[in-house]
Symmetry: C2
Subunit: 466 residues, 2 copies
């Protein structure tokens, strides 16, 4: 069986043995309950010596009673029992084992011994192990989630690989994942294996990873290089500092290597690095929703020049340039501006609202002029969301932006929608449409454009090599 087929047994499992399934329901921790509610269509085989059925599903009293031909075993028993249960599953011909228990290599000593025993059992039986110390796998396209915490994800084209349950469940604010593999302590299945599965998965357009360490660097780079020629890989790396790196030992039982080595490897592979959870959010949204910019020339549009100047600083810091506008662009914009205001980049539409009372028209005229200017590679707009949900800004800005983004799909539009909390919520309205990504700060908006451009250049360069 090649590695893709092996990973499929996990993430596309059509039948699952749930060893250590609980009878308790209603607290979100019962995987049988969660899968039934989620609408998983595969077969479930809960194993529990003290139960006969869980929510109407027949329960087996021992692994020995299970039928043959089950794709996956989710072993959720305490760490000391895990090896014996793994052995019995392997004896039943199960080739894919998820070991949930913590306290293995992550604490060392007896835990380390137990983990080594698990690997030996799997090797001898021709099975593969995911974990230990893992949530397992999730696949929105099959309504499958083995996590012992209940959450359902939409069919996003995002493949996650994580060494922590936290990022397995999507990024900080949004559940930005469609499939996920939590490799946990990584005793067997690793980043490279998971990448081999995602590389030509038609349901997955980009890959998001939370990484602490990679054991086999060559294997990882080989797999990563294959992927980044087709799909972006975004990685958030834990243990960047030496203090943090020491700690990874007590998380996944491994030592994170030196930051510089990872940086160099990521660069060589064209992997995009996120500095924190927020950037992970931004980059996943950016690579999912935005077309790549053709160059570094950005047009800024703002309702206040103070913010326009901060945006200029942000663009400059991220290696972008302020676009020079064509004559036609300037002329068209000047028609909705007060006569005393010169049209420059950033375009300040604040004063125009006191000249042309139709604010939607001002936004439309400016934004369309910029989108059609051949000297502009990307738009960065800064506008208030208004002080309440019904305010003019809060309704007009998204309306215009969405209309224009649909009309000119080849140019990326990023935005900073400021104001109060209500504004931040309404800002999310933008993100439901293609070609627009709104960030909570202008620095983050400029950074997204910069990363998109870098990756587009990497892709160009690798194409030229081939």
């Amino acid at each position: 069986m090649d590695i893709k087929q092996q990973i499929k047994l996990f993430i596309e499992a059509r039948s699952i043995a749930l060893v250590g399934a609980t009878r308790r329901t209603g607290d979100g921790h019962n995987v049988v309950e969660n899968l039934l509610n989620y609408g998983y269509a595969g077969k479930l085989y809960p194993v529990n010596p003290n139960a006969d059925n869980i929510m109407g599903v027949k329960v087996y009293h021992s692994i020995g009673e299970l039928p043959e031909g089950i794709d996956l075993a989710l072993i959720s028993t305490p760490r000391s029992q895990a090896p014996q249960h793994a052995r019995e599953c392997v004896a039943k011909g199960i080739k894919a084992l998820i070991i949930v228990a913590q306290g293995m290599a992550d604490v060392g000593g007896e835990g380390m011994r137990l983990q080594q025993e698990l690997v030996k059992i799997a090797r001898e039986g021709g099975a593969r192990v995911l974990g230990p110390n893992t949530f397992g796998v999730a696949n929105a396209f099959m309504h499958l989630n083995t996590a012992f915490v209940n959450f359902e994800i939409p069919e996003n084209p995002i493949g996650t690989i994580a060494q922590t349950g936290m990022l397995f469940g999507g990024t900080a604010r949004r559940r930005l994942m469609g499939k996920a593999i939590d490799i946990g302590n990584t005793c067997d299945i690793d980043f490279a294996d998971a990448l081999e599965y995602y590389v030509d998965d038609p349901q997955i357009k980009l890959i998001a990873m939370y990484m602490e360490d990679v054991k086999d660097g060559r294997k990882f780079m080989r797999a990563a290089k294959k992927v980044t020629r087709q799909k972006p890989i975004i990685v958030l790396k834990g243990g960047r500092t030496s203090v943090g790196a020491n700690l990874t030992k007590s998380h996944t039982g491994s030592m994170a290597g030196r930051a510089e080595i990872y940086d160099a490897a990521f660069k060589q592979c064209g992997i995009i690095r996120a500095s924190d959870f927020d950037e992970m959010d931004d980059l996943v949204m950016g690579f999912w929703y935005l077309p790549p910019p053709k160059g570094r020339r950005v047009a800024l549009m703002t309702n206040t020049m103070g913010a326009g100047i901060l945006a200029t600083d942000a663009c400059t810091n991220w290696g972008l340039e302020l676009a020079t506008f064509a004559r036609e662009t300037k002329e068209r914009i000047s028609r909705v501006m007060p006569p005393w205001l010169p049209v420059i980049n950033p375009v300040d539409i604040g004063p125009a609202n006191f000249v042309v009372p139709d604010r939607e028209k001002v936004i439309f005229e400016c934004m369309e002029s910029l989108l059609t200017d051949p000297g502009v590679d990307a738009i960065l707009f800064i506008l208030p969301a208004g002080f309440d949900k019904e305010s003019a800004w809060g309704v007009e800005v998204p309306n215009v932006a969405k209309k224009l983004a649909a009309k000119y799909p080849a140019k990326p539009i990023v935005g900073w929608v400021h104001s109060n909390d209500v504004g931040e919520n309404s800002a999310h309205a933008y993100m439901t449409d293609r070609n627009i990504v709104v960030c909570p700060t202008v620095d983050r908006a400029a950074r997204v454009l910069s990363r998109l451009l870098n990756y587009a250049q990497f892709r160009e360069a690798t194409k030229a090599e081939e």
Copy 2:
């Protein structure tokens, strides 16, 4: 009249002439309407040749008809009329003039000439000018706001000085201000003048500034040094890059100086620099709500070790250290932990929730142990807000944290409350209490602690000098 008295005429005005007052109501741009609704108790003298009253307030047809003894004139007429109106106000003995119009030094040429004329008129009449290109002043303690955009602010102990209307209205997400002075093009009243007013204002505990340029560096540093020995000054500087600096010319008519010069001056004065609007938010909250840490030893508390490692990286990057726990601390925490889990820093309370079903107890025992450990200078906690508002985490975490923060007010507590959007909203619940500040990322939480510590050290050093 000393500078404090002069600034008081603006920000504590008891009577205001509103030159160019509009009759149109209901759109938030009528300052007379806004002030009446806000509950301003001073006297209003609108001037408009075409109106007799605005919302029941008597309107004067010309400045000449106004009575003597008015504190402040808010001149909202087009730029070409501003000098004449200023001249007439000065003739009426008004010593404080706010010039709202844009298109002055910010566009150059004729605008520059008009601005110079305004300054000359004021000088000759013994008056001071705020602006032009300004919202004017706001003072929550008097229900006063001269901005032509309607917003009301609570009585926060925060004094704002801004060169843009945007920051005048508080930081990006929250209206974190109690008094504000928008110095606009800064033709006369400048940062130093505004600082002289705030320095011993008992209503103001900290100062937030948005700055593009300072004309008289010596004067500014003299005023700033006086202030920072008593209250923190946080500054967001626009025009940090050379491209951005060039643009400030078309915003406030001045050239921002080289970034390094400002950096050195800020450092010498003990001014805290915010890198963007988000950091401005964080620092204002931090300096307002938190006691200064006594040292750099941080205790981390998390529900997932992956996030704990990212927090360790963040602390290390910001010059903080991971605290070593006392024996008693470790013993108390271990009583609510699974037996196989060693108690280290970060404290991972995730697994404990499967051992001790009373989650509130786990959080309480861990957090109180850390707050009472003499080897811990500050707490940084990382917890989920839960997937909905009613979830256990979303209720228990704020409850425990608030209780403990009230009991141990001498140690700062910062937090990163993650999960989905709902979580971010409920995170705000924390911030209503003293001694706790919650940030949207762990990097921002560590940065707040680091800045608090830096400022505390600056204060210690300046005290030693005296």
